[in-house]
């Protein structure tokens, strides 16, 4: 007898029951409350792509994850003038997952995030040591095209910052500047697809010419994400993307992040530890410019490896 619980399959092997995870059944919709009666066959989809990442950790995911890192950071030091804001940061950021960076104010997590698309270049008196590779490309090498880098590695900010233009023009801005499209039809396709990706299309499809600033903050933030998706990035950096939003709008952004990770790598800086716990696959804890710990999120919040992480997560310091 075989009892199937989605991909959890109970099989009789050598006449002893053995539970095993099995990949055979996919695309069966989740039953929220499956009938548990023991002899019934139950189908529930359980995510089952197991990937061993190059950083040594295994993840299981609904979608395929490339084991190679999207970002490799080696011995990164960052200075504001003579002040060292980041010291000796080395880590690998896995693709198509959500990485959260947590830590108290001033710990360097936002500075680190801005290093990843060279946003810090605009601040006078700063300099950087070490290397950051985006899929093997050294992003601080002199011949890097900054516009292209920021197209590939887009950023969402704390406060929604749509242009004071129509919804359509906001989303069309990037493709127009970069020259992604040949005609209006293509542009319209991109705008619609981007707005659909952030689950905003149904709300705004009849208001594409309205000023973006007339929408709620939650909608504006999703619009900003759509604007970014329109130029087809690989990585989305988010700096406190939900801290200006109410709890429901926050949950919507978190859900959106989970949707988006199938196609994009997301790195999010957050003050909100619970948000990091809820949404991310990996968590990095920064303290005084150092990366104290980088672990799978479930591990970080149940059995952190470092005492300092434990004290911060449990609110004993910070």
């Amino acid at each position: 007898m075989v009892v199937t619980f989605g991909e959890l399959v109970l099989t009789e092997v050598a006449s002893a029951p053995v539970l095993q995870l099995d990949n055979r059944i996919t695309n069966i919709p989740i039953n929220r409350y499956p009938p548990f009666f023991i002899d019934e066959i139950i189908a529930v989809k359980i995510p089952l792509h197991k990937v061993r990442l190059s950083n040594g950790y295994s993840v299981k995911s609904n979608h395929m994850v490339d084991p190679q890192p999207v970002f490799t950071i080696r011995d990164l030091n960052f200075y504001y003038g003579a002040v060292r804001a980041l010291s000796q940061i080395s880590l690998e950021i896995p693709p198509n997952l959500i990485t959260a960076l947590i830590g108290p104010s001033g710990c360097g997590k936002s500075t680190f995030l801005r290093c990843l698309n060279r946003m810090n270049d605009t601040i006078p008196g700063t300099h950087i040591e070490g290397q950051i590779f985006l899929k093997g490309m050294d992003i601080y090498s002199p011949d890097v095209d900054l516009a292209l880098l920021r197209q590939k590695v887009g950023m969402v900010f704390q406060k929604p910052n749509p242009f004071p233009q129509s919804v359509f023009d906001n989303v069309a801005y990037g493709p127009r500047v970069v020259g992604l499209t040949r005609n209006k039809k293509e542009l319209e396709t991109i705008v619609e697809r981007s707005l659909r990706q952030v689950a905003l299309w149904d709300e705004v499809k009849d208001a594409l010419n309205e000023n973006a600033l007339s929408f709620s903050l939650g909608e504006q933030q999703r619009l900003c994400i759509a604007r970014l998706l329109a130029v087809q990035p690989e990585v989305i950096l988010m700096d406190e993307p939900a801290s200006a939003l109410d709890p429901i709008a926050t949950l919507r952004i978190e859900e959106l992040m989970v949707e988006l990770k199938q196609n994009y790598t997301i790195i999010v800086v957050t003050h909100n530890m619970q948000q990091a716990a809820r949404v991310s696959d990996f968590t990095g804890f920064f303290w005084l410019g150092e990366l104290v710990e980088f672990s799978p999120t479930a591990n970080m919040f149940t059995r952190p490896e470092k005492r300092l992480s434990e004290d911060y997560i449990t609110g004993k310091m910070g």
Binding site: F5, L19, P34, F36, E255, T302
Partner: protein, 220 residues
């Protein structure tokens, strides 16, 4: 809050529920097999039950781990929180039931080829009732049905009655024929284990009641 806004949590929670159903199935099969082994004097089958207990223990730790991660990362509240706490208790009960089944299987091996005492249909009746109680308690859990949970606890009296009958009858046999003492003692262990299994089901029913009503109450 609109449904589906916490899809990560919902999915991970479903996974735990499914694993719980799987673990329950393993325990139920273990009890069934230990009784078959007893009826047939099948030491091979008994060995399978004993080895299978490792898998039950493994499942318990796996589910415990998952619940821990859910609590730490998803901040469940109200019904969700109560359900996770209930599951944490339930897996301990299930694991102990697995141990009792393995205990019966060990007794089967100790008894080896000794002939079966013929009058012990009542022991098998105890097993049958306990298994039905287990299945129903999981049904009560799935359907969030505190009435069914309460109703299951009433059935424990029947198990206790049967246990008493078996116990007295075995005593009588032992008093009459000292050669039967070993065999009767083994059977008494089996009956005792079944009685304990039913008690563990009652604990599960208590958890279902807590989960559905928020009230902690001990069933007699």
């Amino acid at each position: 809050m609109s449904p589906g806004i916490r899809s990560v949590f919902d999915r991970e929670f479903d996974e735990v529920r499914v694993k719980l159903a799987g673990m329950t199935k393993l325990v139920d099969v273990a009890v069934e097999r230990s009784m078959n082994a007893l009826a047939e004097r099948d030491t091979k089958l008994a060995k399978i039950v004993i080895d299978g207990d490792l898998e039950i223990n493994k499942q318990r730790f796996q589910i415990e781990e998952d619940c821990l991660a859910l609590i730490a990362t998803q901040q469940p509240a109200a019904t969700d929180l109560r359900e996770i706490i209930a599951i944490l208790y339930m897996i301990v009960e299930l694991e102990r039931m697995g141990d009792y089944a393995a205990g019966i299987a060990k007794t089967v091996i100790l008894m080896k080829e000794e002939p079966l005492l013929k009058t012990f249909k009542k022991i098998f009746k105890m097993a049958e009732l306990s298994r039905q109680m287990l299945a129903d308690s999981m049904q009560a859990f799935t359907n969030r049905d505190p009435v069914l949970a309460q109703e299951i606890t009433d059935r424990d009296n029947k198990i206790d009655e049967l246990y008493k009958i078996v116990f007295l009858r075995l005593l009588k046999i032992m008093a009459k024929d000292p050669d039967m003492v070993t065999r009767c003692t083994y059977l008494m262990w089996c009956a005792h284990n079944l009685e304990r299994i039913a008690d563990r089901v009652i604990n599960i029913s208590e958890q279902v009641t807590f989960m559905t009503t928020g009230t902690l109450k001990e069933f007699e």
